[in-house]
């Protein structure tokens, strides 16, 4: 890792020295070694606290939409982030020419919950290599196999390598197996209608409507969300069953053909509510029906934006 961080630092330094970008979005060290935070470096800032490891939870593409289009942004992107950036470029949220993508092939994001469950919150040290993750808690070292503590979305990841980065740091990894991505949806579909509804109900109705999932998602950039409308409201904005169900259905639906399965929404949820089973299903349908996968290039419009008369045979009745 330290080698990669050194490469990253010198690349960022080069970008500022050669005046390629105005700002670089990356990660920095924070108080707890378990929680690196998003960082926004400008020319002249010290890169001393720059961090990169498998604990970096956020999807950095989330911050693209907070800058004016003229700002030249350098951004550290892993597989999913590079696809989110592409999807945002397609949706005209930032011009491609004002972006510089620093790609890093991703070995997956570690799910903090899986670690903290076995150690405790106050972790004082963290190390990782290809296979092992080790954390220090109360002077005791705990070792984990990487695959045991990866976030579920990352276990299912198909494209760990950044798509069309401007520079790639580190060696490309083998692509993931689409069959594994399928498994989660498949096992849900295998349940009966009743079981599926009960599962959905149990997950959705635990929601406390904090909207952390929305804030963490790069594709949720609307300035006014449907749940924030003043009266008359689209949905109940309380934690009533109808309100939480509507939130979960529509939040997921608005991601159709846009979600890049990064899992940032699930990682952000304080209630540990599962929601990628919804977006993964929608993505799978988009792939099967329209041969479309979000973010695989920065020009193709998602299916809901590219309807045409070829669909006419699908009008039944």
């Amino acid at each position: 890792m330290s080698e990669l961080i050194a490469k990253l630092k010198s690349e960022i330094k080069r970008l500022f020295d050669e005046d390629v970008v105005d700002v670089v979005i990356a990660f920095k060290k924070a108080d707890s070694p378990l929680r690196p935070q998003p960082a926004f470096y400008r020319k002249g800032d010290s890169l001393e606290d720059l961090e990169y490891n498998s604990l970096c939870q956020n999807n950095l593409a989330n911050y693209l939409t907070r800058y004016p289009h003229e700002t030249r942004i350098g951004i550290v992107v892993r597989g999913c982030e590079s696809r989110s950036v592409n999807a945002l470029v397609v949706e005209k949220q930032h011009p491609r020419e004002n972006l510089f993508k620093i790609g890093i092939p991703c070995q997956g994001i570690v799910d903090l919950r899986k670690i903290v469950k076995q150690t405790g919150e106050d972790v004082s040290g963290y190390k990782e290599d290809q296979e092992k993750i080790s954390v220090v808690f109360k002077n005791k070292e705990y070792q984990f196999d990487r695959k045991d503590v990866l976030h579920d979305s990352c276990l299912r990841c198909v494209h760990p390598n950044p798509v069309n980065p401007d520079v790639l740091l580190g060696d490309p990894l083998p692509e993931g197996d689409p069959g594994v991505l399928r498994q989660a949806v498949e096992s849900f579909e295998a349940l009966t209608k009743q079981e599926r509804y009960t599962w959905f109900q149990q997950e959705a109705e635990r929601c406390i409507r904090c909207y952390a999932c929305r804030e963490a998602c790069p594709m949720c950039y609307c300035t006014e969300c449907f749940v924030d409308h003043n009266p008359p409201r689209w949905t109940e904005s309380t934690i009533s069953p109808a309100g939480t169900q509507a939130w979960h259905i529509i939040r997921a639906f608005h991601q159709t053909g846009r979600c890049t399965s990064c899992g940032a929404c699930e990682r952000a949820c304080p209630m540990d509510i599962k929601m990628t089973y919804l977006t993964d299903k929608l993505n799978e349908d988009m792939l099967n029906q329209y041969d479309f996968a979000p973010g695989m290039d920065d020009t193709t419009q998602p299916p809901f934006a590219s309807f045409n008369l070829d669909d006419k045979n699908r009008f039944v009745a």
């Binding site: 849900f188 209608k193 009743q194 949905t235 009533s240 109808a242 809901f304 008369l309």
Partner: protein, 146 residues
């Protein structure tokens, strides 16, 4: 006593119904069917459908124009892609997708809308009432949801 299923009918205002059919829809709908006229099926947001369901409708029918007959050229095409997928999602979480039905009508389809509504009503009576999604608390008559 058996009560009739409640149906929310969204009708595109450009839908070319024959005159007597349109008259019937506008003036003689049974009380169990509520009419919402929209400017185009493309104007219908999936939230309208969900709202109808959560507002207590047993079924939602959407009547639009046939392809190439859309007043706005491709509003119905956009509607089809989104609404079909929305039904896939509802079905996935265990909702009975047959509770939402599309009909694409043309001027030649005289008397068809009555027939479609009657069929739909029968279908709804057959369906189980499990998993129908939580309903919202209804606003008092004349007031809006907060």
């Amino acid at each position: 006593m058996e009560t009739k299923p409640k149906i929310a009918l969204f009708q595109c205002q450009w839908c070319l119904y024959s005159e007597p059919d349109q008259y019937w829809v506008d003036h003689n709908l049974p009380p169990s069917i509520r009419l919402m006229k929209v400017s185009c099926t493309g104007r219908i947001n999936t939230l309208h459908i969900l709202n109808a369901i959560q507002g207590g409708a047993d079924g939602v029918m959407i009547s639009g124009c046939r392809p190439e007959k859309c007043h706005f050229k491709e509003g119905n095409l956009s509607a089809l892609r989104q609404h079909e997928e929305f039904l896939n999602l509802l079905d996935y979480i265990g909702y009975e997708r047959d509770r939402v039905r599309f009909v694409w009508l043309d001027l030649q389809d005289r008397g068809r809308i009555q027939q479609e509504l009657a069929d739909f009503e029968n279908k709804l009576q057959e369906l189980s009432t499990a998993n129908t999604l939580a309903t919202r608390i209804n606003a008092p008559e004349g007031e809006v949801h907060v």
